[in-house]
């Protein structure tokens, strides 16, 4: 017996595992390619969708770590808003994009670290700890912004999200490239380093991780911090897109981000997660909304379709999984 089923996991099957989300994406593109007007398949529209995927994409990279470790972060939407507000305030103050970006990302890191500390220190489940941060970060954002959006000089930050970048040879917005490059780096971090393995181990069985001497608390804090950093970066990008700091932005975005990560093949029970899949999930969500607008369907139809697609994509994945078992 044995060996016949030599299920090597890794590399080649990695592609096979990606089949679920990629198939879903292709399906969405094909369907809208048929029902929506031609312009849906135009190069320009693809650039538009690419830029629209950046914020959810960045959020999804960080969230993949959290979900792989068996946690969840409901605060990312609020943290994005807070980071966008802080970036705007700093631009107002110092008019230096570098400083503003650093502080925007920094506040994300702080929120993430607080999440991690509350989860590990007070031993509160991530859902609740980050639900608290969901309100706190949003409240602070509104406070800082004086319950208003903030107009600030944007410097070159909007360039990051320019759909048609001034250097036209880079084809899509610099933000898209940043997301791709960070995605690759984070995929290496998750799959090829000790930190990544520890993330998987914690998600799979926390007491085993503890038994094996993994510093569970420290690792978790780092994971939530990482997620916060990416939320902060997404907030900066959000500021780039809006050119204003908006304390009410990205409300409910956490659900899109979580959906992207899960569509990408992560398991909310922990122990499974793929950055590449999460990014494909983010693009899929963007294509869905874009296609619905192209096809001119009313919002409520769009809401229903997105609901169905989320279920269908995950069902496909779980079906494929169960088949291979």
């Amino acid at each position: 017996m044995i060996e016949s089923n030599g299920r090597r996991v890794r590399l080649v099957p990695d592609l096979r595992q990606m089949l679920g989300p990629v198939l879903g994406l292709v399906l969405v593109i094909v369907i809208f390619g048929i029902i929506a007007p031609q312009s849906f398949l135009s190069v320009y529209n693809f650039k538009v969708v690419a830029a629209q995927s950046v914020i959810v994409g960045l959020g999804a990279i960080g969230m993949t770590f959290v979900i792989t470790s068996g946690g969840i972060d409901l605060s990312v939407g609020s943290v994005i808003a807070l980071a966008s507000v802080l970036t705007a305030l700093m631009m107002q103050q110092f008019d230096s994009p570098v400083v503003a970006i650093a502080l925007g990302v920094g506040i994300g890191a702080v929120c993430g670290a607080v999440n991690g500390l509350v989860i590990t220190g007070l031993r509160i489940v991530p859902f609740i700890a980050t639900l608290g941060m969901f309100g706190i970060a949003r409240g602070i954002a509104k406070y800082l912004a004086g319950e208003q959006k903030i107009d600030a000089p944007a410097g070159w930050i909007p360039e990051l999200m320019a759909k048609e970048p001034s250097a036209s040879w880079i084809l899509v917005a610099p933000g898209v490239w940043i997301t791709i490059v960070l995605g690759i780096l984070m995929a290496i971090l998750l799959n090829r380093t000790t930190f990544g393995t520890n993330t998987f181990a914690i998600g799979s069985n926390e007491s085993t991780a503890r038994l094996c001497g993994i510093q569970v608390r420290r690792t978790k804090i780092l994971i939530y911090m990482l997620c916060g950093i990416f939320a902060g970066l997404a907030g900066v990008m959000q500021f780039g897109r809006l050119t204003v700091g908006d304390p009410t932005t990205a409300l409910g975005k956490e659900l899109d981000i979580i959906a992207a990560v899960v569509i990408g093949g992560a398991s909310l029970a922990g122990g499974e997660g793929r950055i590449s899949g999460a990014l494909v999930g983010a693009v899929l969500m963007a294509f869905l909304a874009n296609g619905c607008t192209h096809a001119g369907v009313p919002n409520y139809v769009q809401e229903i379709i997105i609901g169905i697609i989320i279920i269908a994509a995950v069902a496909l994945d779980s079906y494929r999984h169960s088949g291979s078992r």
Binding site: P37, S39, F40, S42, Y44, N45, V48, A51, Q52, I55, K142, A145, E147, Q148, K149, D151, P158, K163, E164, Q238, R241, L242, T243, V244, D246, P247, T248, T249, A250, L251, G252, A289, N290, T293, H294, G296, P298, N299, Q302, E303
Partner: protein, 308 residues
């Protein structure tokens, strides 16, 4: 939609409201549809999927630009955030007509709107008149960062402060939030705290509605004077029953109509004025049945929304 059959020759106009599920926008939609059919335009009506989310509205604009519509008619959720994407639209030869709320960009073809500050002033003067210049009042705000309602709140509060020193504003920092339920709950809590105010102001339909119900609950209808903004069936009924002292009513139907008509003119290369005021009217029990006002309160929605 019936493009594959042949091709519709009618220009396509994208009308982008701030949201799709408020009566105000419904009425704008009806007005837009009417203008569309008058002017041989295909109207696509599409708001942001998540209401009050700037980024979502930008996405809608971007997508329409990618789709290549002939004109964009938009009520921007933000006077700055929408600028880059609208610039892009006009850069690609798509004229932009702005309605309801202004934008900090002079590339727009025209701006069709209610003067919201003036609406707030109208309401303030009515409160001042009803209270004879003295008493205690409160304002329940709508949602943080909503430009049009903030102008109304500001117009109202500034006028009270400057013209009616005898009127004390006991609370003006509570936001009801974007939903009717939220407005109602906040109104209840406010009135539990200040049950003996003389008048209250709601800067939009959900806020007014929430206040009306909360006043009703403590049996102070008519005692606490309610001055509100916008109309809906329940509010009109409230006006008739004396639960509401006055409503400042905009003309959303005309807004949709004028904006889309302006789009036609632009497509045809005709000149349009820079600003078109659709006006706002103070409606009370006395004048509510006057001919013009009657239509303001009951716009012909069914005719223009169900035919399509």
């Amino acid at each position: 939609e019936h493009r594959e059959g042949g091709h519709t020759t009618n220009p396509v106009v994208a009308v982008i409201p701030k949201g799709t599920s408020h009566e105000f926008w419904k009425t704008v939609h009806a007005g837009a549809n009417e203008a569309g059919s008058k002017n041989d335009l295909e109207i696509i009506w599409k708001g942001p999927a998540r209401e009050d989310d700037r980024d979502e509205q930008i996405k809608v604009v971007e997508t329409f630009v990618a789709r290549g519509v002939d004109a964009i008619v938009i009520a921007p959720l933000d006077d700055t955030a929408l600028v880059p994407s609208l610039k892009e639209a006009s850069g690609r030869g798509i004229p932009v007509i702005v309605f309801d709320s202004d934008i900090k960009w002079d590339g727009k073809t025209t701006f069709v709107a209610t003067d919201n500050t003036r609406g707030g002033e109208l309401a303030a003067r009515e409160v001042g008149r009803l209270l004879d210049g003295k008493g205690r009042i409160l304002v329940m705000r709508y949602v943080e960062g909503s430009a049009s309602t903030m102008k109304r709140e500001k117009g109202f509060l500034d006028t009270i402060a400057s013209e009616y020193p005898g009127i004390e504003v006991v609370s003006s920092n509570q936001h009801g939030g974007a939903t009717v339920e939220g407005c109602y709950k906040t109104a209840e809590n406010l009135l539990a705290k200040y049950p003996d105010v003389d008048a209250v102001f709601g800067p939009c339909e959900p806020a007014t509605f929430g206040l009306m119900k909360a006043i009703d609950d403590i049996d102070k209808e008519g005692t606490i004077l309610l001055v509100g903004f916008d109309a809906s069936d329940k509010l009109v009924e409230g006006l008739r029953d004396g639960k509401i002292a006055a409503l400042v009513v905009q003309n959303p139907f005309a807004m949709g109509d004028l904006a889309v008509t302006a789009a036609r003119s632009t497509i045809d290369g005709d000149d349009v004025p820079e600003f078109m005021d659709t006006g706002c009217t103070l409606i009370t029990l006395e004048n509510m049945d006057e001919p013009g006002n009657k239509e303001l309160l009951n716009p012909p929605l069914d005719k223009w929304l169900n035919t399509k």
